[in-house]
């Protein structure tokens, strides 16, 4: 087995393959290149990313974005619709106000009912209103899917790609996965065997802190922009990691591990 890890997407991305030798090394390099691509396109911090271009664009602007970015924005819209707005990529002004993200420009107020953009034909995006988007709740999952596709294409039969808790297993051979205990995050809360599917966990134990008089974290309810309570951890299993990643936020905010949106993406969830 070869295991490698590199820092991308604001976290550690780990790629493990059950293979040895030069071809396996090359497959891992190709997979990391896909993760790096997702990072470049969808980073909130990088001024050249598609996300930054969208954030700095004026209302009515039509922007051409990379196909990958477009796919993520489209899915974010669908998951937002299916969750009644719980999943909302336009919460970034709130995260900036709490100091979780750096300000891209002069401060903006957050209106949960405001549609900031829409995806249009030909890989373009229309900016509809002033606002900032952040793909932190979905891009890691998409990057994992890209990396798995690259490993598969390189002929790897058994692998696991883990982007800071959002992971996917390639192949029918199971991989052991420890889900952190939300009460004691450095311990295992649940030990699972995962094969041929994706698993994503969301919890606030590493990002919770005080901002002014409020307890804030990087997880919030897209309908109100309010921080979510820091007590539990939500894990979603789905065929694709991009869906698992985004759906954790819906289960977290609704407290419902059987939320109807899960079925749309063939997903199941549990809360610990």
């Amino acid at each position: 087995m070869i295991r490698r890890a590199q820092p991308w997407l604001g976290t550690l991305v780990e790629i493990s393959v059950r293979a040895e030798g030069g071809l396996a090394e090359q497959a891992i390099n190709a997979a990391f290149m896909q993760v790096a691509l997702a990072h470049r396109l969808m980073s909130f911090h990088d001024a050249d990313s598609d996300v930054s271009r969208i954030n700095l664009a004026a209302p009515d602007a039509l922007l051409s974005v990379d196909e990958h970015t477009w796919q993520v924005l489209q899915l974010a819209q669908e998951i937002g619709d299916a969750s009644g707005g719980i999943f909302n990529i336009a919460c970034a002004p709130r995260l900036v106000a709490w100091g979780c993200l750096p300000p891209p420009a002069a401060p903006l107020s957050f209106d949960p009912h405001l549609a900031v953009l829409c995806c249009e034909e030909g890989g373009t995006v229309r900016k509809l209103a002033p606002g900032w988007i952040d793909l932190g709740g979905i891009a890691k999952g998409y990057a994992v899917d890209l990396a798995i596709a690259a490993l598969c294409e390189a002929g790897i039969g058994s692998a696991c790609v883990n982007a800071g808790g959002d992971l996917r297993v390639l192949g029918s051979e199971p991989w052991p996965v420890a889900v952190r205990d939300p009460q004691a995050p450095l311990r295992t809360g649940k030990l699972l065997q995962v094969a041929d599917s994706a698993l994503a966990t969301s919890a606030a134990y590493f990002t919770t802190r005080r901002h002014e008089d409020q307890q804030v974290c990087a997880l919030l309810d897209g309908r109100s922009g309010e921080p979510l309570p820091n007590c539990a951890s939500v894990t979603v299993q789905a065929p694709r990691c991009v869906a698992a990643d985004a759906l954790t936020k819906i289960v977290f905010a609704s407290g419902n591990p059987h939320h109807p949106a899960l079925r749309v993406w063939d997903a199941t969830a549990f809360i610990i």
């Binding site: 590199q6 820092p7 606030a204």
Partner: protein, 178 residues
Amino acid sequence: MRYQPLLALSACALCAPAFATQYLTAEQAQQAIFPDATTFRPQPLALNAAQMQQVEKLAAMPARSVNWRVVGAYKGDTLLGYMVLDEVTGKFELISYAVGLNPDASVKQVEIMTYRESHGGEIRLPAWRRQFIGKSAVGGGLSIGDGIANISGATLSCTHLTDGIRRIAAVAQVMLKK
């Protein structure tokens, strides 16, 4: 006397990391970053006060160390770049990593060598950290966490690591740029 084994056990449990993974040794990291290199030469750096100031200005943070572990990667006599070894500690985690640099001091690749978490404050204790020195991935010096392929949970931010890489990029600008 009869209590001693128990004491030893609890002391051991205290210093056991919660999750730990060894990815690459320094040798494996230099191969991964510079697969075409034929020789690697240690070229340790020692910064003087003026150079420390330059690094601090470029990185916009304290330069921290005077001494840096640097390896030059060569193909024949041609310099391919450098690898700088470093480690950073977060609130719960200790990460040792390698930064590959091009001859123009731009960052080529970053590879994590080891990752460890700890329950208590041990992460900052030199004694706790020392127990990992010289442990190799090949020899399996760290058995804790074996069999656990992956951890799913909230994302642990790697701000400290990002800062560390920025500092090394600044050191390279000041000291290594061709």
